[in-house]
Each structure stands twice: as structure tokens, then as C-alpha cells.
């Protein structure tokens, strides 16, 4: 298997459709994308390298280097263009010998590293437009590495997740229908290239025959204008992007985006208020909440459009709550929630989420497979299933607060805090405590115009949950720290609160 199969099938099945770029001219057809991928492969094969790397915003170089690397049989390594010069140089050296396709600003950072051949994106794109194509004899070994994705690395040295061709191709075959898109469909990709969702979006759009439109760097105004100009029908966003898009539309009196048929979101917890507003503002749009990890080749669970509507219109509290769930596993995925001893737990009980399926890679470079003997992968995400099999996420297992031997999920405390009208955002973390091992700390962003006290919020939590869950420490901040995918940086808060010293009591 090789991800090039996907582009080859697209070129054979609907080669004259525009697959990448604008509908107002200068877009590339699938046939042209295939030819450019072949030219990129010839370029890489001639460069005497082991890996292909990319330091760029979302641009046409992303799909063309991704497929070109697969054609050449070289792992593709997209690096985060936001890294500092030192971090970038360190990773580039690790990936060497490599050709690094890069944007203008990154090039000076990549100068003079042994085995690293930087090439400017625009030069590269111009070169492959006229370069001869490599023979179409790519390796079909399913175990070849397709992509190495370095994790954001908020702690310790960055590590590279390994995605082999068999994982990515299985993911696409298992979740996307070939040529399933109508000819007018176009997807707007605004997640960064070094994120699994950005890569998965390219593979699934090509296989479905859905034109790819790229937004180099996210900005709500640019997103909305591009969606209108390009007649965007599909989009994937992270929660913070959706919140900003809605704010922008309201501020600028844009009542709807009528061409938008489907929007998927993921990568972090979606505030209920944001998704409810989005459902009301874009009534024709099908919303999909997708849950997945880099190690699982993207999505493993989805909350579909019908689930969204049923939850929005229901008076049953249990059904309404499903708007905050990530839905049910894909047909090609098995999923269970297990306790500390690895035994599956009953619906409603909390534990660690485990998944199994052809798309599940569960591997880091140089560290071997994290799958158990039966092929199950522990996600390190905590959660529980409801009576009908809807999955609710509760944050990372590492973030669970162990207070006096009792496991407390930050999610349950945050959910209760967010129900309080004076709380805009909330994060719960464990703090060092001599008496309890860990104590509960909470960081709260107040809603505009309100000024709740710590005591008031502590009482609120104690009223709704057991008293052990009431935060011993509550601090107020103007904002919470998130990464550029909208994920709460809990470790940053934990470190900040730990500096307050040991919590007595």
C-alpha cells in the first residue's frame, strides 16, 4: 500500500477536476497534481536524501511534497514553522539527509546544517512544474513510513509519531467513499500542515474528489471572505477558530454562509455555547465533531449531524448532553474504556480510552510500538461511554488529580464551574499537597461584567459534586493558555499554581 494509490485513483477516475486551489483559475487538476507529485519524486530521488521535510504554512507545496515523498519512498516530515531557529535546526539535523521545502522566513534558519538542503517553496513549485516525472513504480510495502510527525513537545524532547502507509491508506479506505464529493464541493483547510488533521484532510479530500482550498494562516475575517469567494462547502476547524468565525460573522452582520454544507471540528473541547450558536447561525450546515489522535491516523470517533440536531432540539437532559460528546467510533474502529487493571468498565464508569483498528499506528520513532499483544492502543485520554455508546472525553490520564487516593477528573470540575453564569473559562489541575498528595486547584476566567469570589465558586462546586472536588485553591486570570490548535496547556497552569507553594488542608 502507498498513499500515492489515492492520488493515482483520483487522477484515473476524475483527472480533469480541479483538486487544489482556486475555482477562479490557476488551480491544479488531479491529473496535474499527479504529474507534479511525480516530478517532486524525481527531484527527491535525485537529491540523495533519506527524508523529505517541509517548513511552511498551508500551501500547495504541502500536498505535492506529501505525495511526492510517498512516490519517492521517503518519509515525509512536516515541521512546525513557528519553532525557534534553535529548535528547527535541531530537528532538521535529526531528519538529515533531507531536502527541506521552506517558506521565505524559515530559510535563513536552515542555513549551513550538515545534510540539510533547504529550497524555497516558490522555487520548488516552479521547478517541479517543468521537471520530468519519475516512473510510477513506487514501493507498495505497507510497512514503509509515510509520515513522521513531531509532537508539539510541551515537556521534554520532541518525539516523532510514525505513520506507515498501511495506517493512512486504511484510514481513508475505511472512512471515505471514492469520488463521494459532488463536482462543486470544496474544502477549506486552515489547520497547520504539521498537524495530523491537516494531512488527513488532504488525503480524504483527494480520494473523495473534493477541491482543496488552503488558508495559509488562520484569521477569522480571511476565513469568512475566502469561504464566500471560493464557494466553500466543507471545512474543518478547532473550537477557538469556530468561536472567532462566529464572532466575526456577528460583528460584520454576515447572517449565513449559504454554500457551507458541512463543518467538522476537533482538537480540543468545544464550549457548549459556541456550538449551540453555530448551529443556530448556520442552520443548513451539517456539524461533525471528530475525535482522533496523531497515533490513530486522525479520526476514530464522530458525533454526526443528526446527533447534533437531536441533541440541540431534545428536552431530555441526557440527549442534550451528547452535544458535548465525541459520538461513536467509526465502523472500522473498536473502542473500549478500561480501568487501571486493563479491564473494560460499564457504561458511565470513567477510565482510559483504548482503540483498535487498521489505522491505529501507536508508534514513536526509536521507541517501538505502544500497542498491546492484541493490537489495542491506550490513548492516555480519559473518558466514559453513556448508555447508548456515546463517548465523553475527560482530558488526559496524566492530568487526573489523585487527592487522598481518590481519582478526580479535571473535566467534571470544569463542567460544573462552566455552568456558573459568572465563569467564562475554567481549568482544574492538581497541586502538591502534604496532606492529600494532591489538592484541587482551579484557574478561572470571569465572564465579562461579573466578579464571583473564590468562596462562591468553591461552594458552587461543593453543591454539585462531592466536597472532595471543591477546589482548595481558585485563582483568577484574564485568559487561559492554549496552543495553536486550541488545546488547553494544562501543564503550564499546573506549574504556575505549584509555585504558590504547598497547599495546607
Amino acid at each position: 500500500m502507498n498513499v500515492m494509490m489515492l492520488l493515482e485513483m483520483a487522477a484515473a477516475g476524475f483527472g480533469d477536476r480541479v483538486g487544489l486551489g482556486s475555482k477562479h483559475g490557476d488551480g491544479l487538476t488531479y491529473e496535474q497534481m499527479y504529474e507534479r507529485a511525480g516530478s517532486a519524486a524525481a527531484y527527491f530521488l535525485g537529491a540523495g536524501i533519506e527524508r523529505v521535510s517541509l517548513v511552511d504554512v498551508s500551501s500547495p507545496a504541502l500536498p505535492l511534497t506529501l505525495f511526492g515523498s510517498a512516490w519517492a519512498g521517503k518519509p515525509f516530515v512536516p515541521l512546525n514553522y513557528r519553532l525557534t531557529a534553535d529548535e528547527l535546526r535541531h530537528l532538521a539535523a535529526e531528519v538529515a539527509p533531507t531536502v527541506t521545502v521552506c517558506e521565505d522566513q524559515a530559510q535563513p534558519k536552515l542555513y549551513d546544517i550538515a545534510g540539510v538542503q533547504p529550497v524555497l517553496r516558490d522555487e520548488f513549485l516552479a521547478t517541479i512544474a517543468s521537471h520530468p516525472c519519475a516512473p510510477p513504480d513506487w514501493s507498495m510495502d505497507p510497512d514503509d513510513i509515510a509520515i513522521l510527525l513531531y509532537t508539539s513537545g510541551t515537556t521534554g524532547a520532541p518525539k516523532a509519531a510514525v505513520l506507515r502507509h498501511k495506517h493512512l491508506v486504511s484510514y481513508i479506505f475505511g472512512s471515505v467513499e471514492f469520488m463521494g464529493a459532488d463536482e462543486d464541493e470544496a474544502t477549506l483547510i486552515s489547520v497547520p500542515p504539521y498537524h495530523i488533521a491537516g494531512m488527513a484532510a488532504i488525503l480524504s479530500s483527494v480520494y473523495a474528489g473534493r477541491r482543496i482550498v488552503q488558508l495559509p494562516a488562520f484569521d477569522a475575517g480571511a476565513w469568512v471572505q475566502l469561504a464566500i469567494h471560493e464557494g466553500i462547502t466543507h471545512a474543518m476547524v478547532v473550537p477557538t477558530m469556530l468561536a472567532r468565525i462566529i464572532d466575526y460573522m456577528e460583528q460584520h452582520g454576515i447572517e449565513n454562509l449559504p454554500t457551507l454544507r458541512a463543518m467538522s471540528y476537533g482538537g480540543g473541547k468545544m464550549p457548549l455555547a459556541v456550538i449551540e450558536k453555530a448551529l443556530d447561525l448556520l442552520p443548513q450546515c451539517n456539524f461533525v465533531n471528530a475525535y482522533g489522535l496523531t497515533e490513530t491516523s486522525s479520526t476514530v470517533c464522530i458525533l454526526g449531524p443528526d446527533d447534533h440536531r437531536a441533541a440541540r432540539s431534545s428536552h431530555d437532559q441526557a440527549v442534550r448532553r451528547r452535544l458535548t460528546s465525541v459520538g461513536k467510533p467509526l465502523p472500522s474502529i473498536e473502542l473500549t474504556v478500561r480501568d487501571d487493571e486493563g479491564k473494560s468498565v460499564e457504561p458511565g464508569a470513567r477510565g482510559e480510552i483504548w482503540v483498535r483498528g487498521e489505522q491505529v499506528a501507536g508508534e514513536y520513532l526509536g521507541r517501538g510500538s505502544l500497542l498491546n499483544a492484541d493490537g489495542w492502543f491506550p490513548t492516555k485520554d480519559g473518558g466514559y461511554l453513556d448508555d447508548e455508546g456515546f463517548l465523553f472525553l475527560e482530558g488526559r490520564m496524566d492530568d487526573i488529580i489523585i487527592r487522598g487516593g481518590e481519582n478526580i477528573s479535571p473535566g467534571e470540575i470544569e463542567d460544573v464551574l462552566l455552568l456558573h453564569g459568572a465563569v467564562a473559562e475554567a481549568a482544574a489541575v492538581g497541586l502538591p499537597s502534604r496532606q492529600w498528595g494532591e489538592a484541587v486547584g482551579a484557574v478561572v476566567v470571569r465572564a465579562p461584567g461579573s466578579s464571583p469570589t473564590a468562596d462562591e465558586l468553591r461552594d458552587w462546586v461543593a453543591q454539585h459534586l462531592r466536597s472532595s472536588r471543591a477546589p482548595e485553591v481558585i485563582v483568577f486570570r484574564d485568559e487561559l493558555p492554549y496552543n495553536d490548535m486550541g488545546k488547553l496547556l494544562r501543564r503550564v497552569l499546573k506549574a504556575e499554581l505549584a509555585e504558590l507553594g504547598d497547599v495546607e488542608g
Binding site: 500500500m1 494509490m5 485513483m9 484515473a12 477516475g13 507498495m140 505497507p142 498501511k166 491508506v169 486504511s170 479506505f173 475505511g174 472512512s175 471515505v176 467513499e177 471514492f178 469520488m179 463521494g180 474544502t187 488533521a197 488527513a200 484532510a201 480524504s204 473523495a208 473534493r210 466543507h234 474543518m236 458541512a262 467538522s264 476537533g266 451539517n286 461533525v288 471528530a290 482522533g292 486522525s298 479520526t299 464522530i302 454526526g304 449531524p305 467509526l330 465502523p331 487498521e358
Partner: protein, 103 residues
């Protein structure tokens, strides 16, 4: 032929059809195209045979084909003139049940 598993590739010996196994039943199964057993994807076909008259319906690119109890599912990655079969019966075109786009 070794037992099939998901991800195995096969090619026709009578036409241009190539397929990939999406789901395979336990135990042995003989997959045919145009009535003739298919070769492994890695083999080179030097001489093509003729498709039998009752298996000339053709395969369509990107379509999925299943046996009667749906224990075998095959995806067509290159189209051709032969029809797919398994253990003596023709496979049926599987109706698409697309999932909503998630990325």
C-alpha cells in the same frame, strides 16, 4: 494462495483490474476476476487469459464488492473488463454508506 487479509493486493490475470482486500473471511477463499483466479499484486502477468463469458460485467474504479454474507469486501483500485467472484459466485456491488467528512 496464502490466506487473504485486509490490505492484500490482487491483480486480474484476464484484464487490467487490480483490487485491495478491505475485509477478509477467516480461512481460505479463492478470489477470481473474469472467472480466473487472481494473482498476487506483486506478480508480473506475462500472458493474459480470456475472461469467461459469464464474468464480463467489469469492475469500476473505487467501488467496493462483497460476497453474499459480506465477510469478504474488496475495493477496486484499477478498473477492468472482468467481474469479481469468490468461491464460484460473483461478488455484488456494495452500496455506499458514506460517513460525514471529518477532516
Amino acid at each position: 494462495m496464502p490466506a487473504l487479509k485486509a490490505g492484500s493486493r490482487l491483480k486480474s490475470t484476464v484484464c487490467t483490474t487490480e483490487v485491495i482486500i478491505v475485509k477478509a473471511p477467516a480461512g481460505e477463499v479463492e478470489v477470481t476476476c473474469g472467472g480466473a483466479p487472481m494473482a498476487l499484486g506483486t506478480e508480473t502477468i506475462t500472458e493474459r487469459g480470456e475472461a469467461s463469458a459469464d464474468a464480463k460485467g467489469g469492475t469500476a474504479l473505487g467501488k467496493r464488492y462483497v460476497n453474499a454474507d459480506e465477510t469478504l469486501e474488496i475495493l477496486c483500485t484499477k478498473a477492468g473488463e472482468g467481474s469479481l467472484g469468490a468461491d464460484g459466485a460473483l461478488l455484488a456491488l456494495k452500496e455506499a454508506k458514506p460517513l460525514p467528512a471529518s477532516d
